[in-house]
């Protein structure tokens, strides 16, 4: 369980946000809403211990996050707003690299099913650089499945997706929650996804 307590972040003497508290229990979905530049990405980065908060603290499983960092990193998947797949390589190569690098326990049939649901199964031999933006975004979600971790930290996961894919994401989020996973994601629109906590920044 992740707990954020009275978190404030200042950068270059400018307050980005202050006194943010939230908790993320297993099976919960938290949405961070706010305008552009309101600090959604900064908060997500602070949760990942990439930005030093000015005040406040973050706890993971009852211990300070900093003292329990590697256990947290073993349980978290982060998807940023950039495409992390390697553009020079084919889709199959990318999947292969992820599977090995994350020492994934997902088997090939599960990946095939995921590829089919994401409608990416025809592009396996194509280089990622030739795919459209929406398709590379969907490829990022495949990483969620491959990494198979409990806590998902997602930055703007729903931008640039078509209606079918958003529907698919809803389903994926619900399935993950049923498996006692937890999700925190940022979004500036109201996607109609069932959430347990809504946080306005």
């Amino acid at each position: 369980m992740l707990i954020v307590k009275d978190l404030s972040i200042e950068r270059l003497d400018k307050k980005i946000f202050e006194n943010i508290s939230l908790s993320l229990a297993p099976g919960n979905i938290t949405i961070l809403k706010g305008k552009n530049g309101s600090g959604k990405t900064t908060l997500l980065k602070a949760i990942l211990n990439l930005i030093e908060p000015s005040f406040g603290s973050i706890y993971w499983k009852g211990k300070l996050l900093k003292k329990n960092l590697y256990d947290f990193y073993n349980n978290v998947t982060y998807i940023s707003d950039t495409t992390s797949s390697l553009k020079k390589l084919t889709l199959a190569d990318n999947i292969n690299i992820w599977k090995k690098f994350f020492i994934s326990n997902i088997n090939d049939t599960q990946i095939e099913i995921a590829l089919k649901t994401l409608k990416l199964d025809n592009y396996l031999d194509k280089k990622v650089g030739t795919l459209s933006f929406g398709e590379t975004k969907k490829l990022e979600f495949l990483r969620l499945i491959i990494e198979n971790k409990n806590v998902w930290v997602l930055d703007e996961p729903l931008s640039n997706l078509d209606d079918d894919s958003i529907e698919l994401m809803k389903q994926t989020f619900e399935d993950h929650c049923e498996k006692q996973g937890s999700i925190i994601f940022s979004s500036h629109q109201n996607p109609g996804i069932y959430v347990t906590e809504e946080m306005q920044l």
Binding site: T82, S85, K88, K100
Partner: protein, 223 residues
């Protein structure tokens, strides 16, 4: 055990990436050989002069060619967020820089190491100096990779002045050049000079993870 596996598959990833961009490595080698040719043509047909300055030319060009690829050291992985993913997979920033430095040594410097004998034939460098050239470049190139890692990580957020990174490497590589060429030209002092060169490598190798790791952390924090 799991950590060891992750390291192995990190290199598998680097191998795949470098093989997909194998033309970049080849371009570096071609640049190296073309520069050697230009030197030969500009010096003229005097065999004696060429063999006297040959070692210095090889070393200078090796340095220049290896700084060409510096920009790619961390930039791609930083821009597409892979550096962050690797960090979240359990590698500290300092450790990433060590892994990356060895990867740069393997995929950029070793091809140069293999092309040295051919350059020696072109520049009429005697065969007995080849061993010294290999040893000095073997140690010197790893030092250059460490320096490259530091300068490249410092320049991650620098979007305008791309040459700055190469300038930093060149300033710090002056002592490496002095002692490396010294090894080849004064073979009787081989042991003492190689100790100094090795000493420089150890200093830079110790500073590298600390300095580059901090730069990577700051760049990701401010990106």
């Amino acid at each position: 055990m799991k950590f060891l596996k992750k390291i192995i598959f990190f290199y598998y990833r680097e191998y795949k990436l470098n093989m997909s961009g194998v033309q970049d490595i080849l371009t570096n080698i071609v640049f190296f050989f073309l520069s050697v040719f230009i030197f030969i043509f500009s010096i003229g047909p005097d065999k004696e002069t060429i063999s006297t300055v040959g070692v210095a030319i090889v070393w200078t060009l090796l340095l220049l060619s290896s700084t060409l690829s510096l920009r790619k050291f961390y930039q791609d992985d930083f821009e597409n967020g892979n550096l962050l993913i690797i960090h979240l997979n359990g590698f500290s920033f300092g450790f990433i820089t060590i892994l990356k430095t060895f990867s740069h040594f393997l995929f950029v410097q070793v091809p140069f190491l293999l092309s040295i004998p051919i350059a020696c034939i072109l520049l009429n460098i005697p065969n007995d100096k080849l061993l010294y050239l290999f040893t000095s470049f073997g140690i010197g190139s790893l030092t250059l990779s460490c320096l490259g890692s530091i300068s490249s990580s410092m320049n991650l957020m620098n979007q305008r002045n791309f040459l700055l990174g190469s300038v930093i490497v060149m300033i710090f590589s002056v002592p490496i050049i002095i002692f490396s060429v010294g090894i080849i030209n004064m073979a009787q002092n081989f042991n003492s000079l190689i100790n100094i060169l090795f000493g420089i490598l150890l200093i830079v190798f110790a500073i590298n993870p600390w300095a580059s790791g901090l730069c990577l952390k700051l760049s990701i924090e401010n990106n």
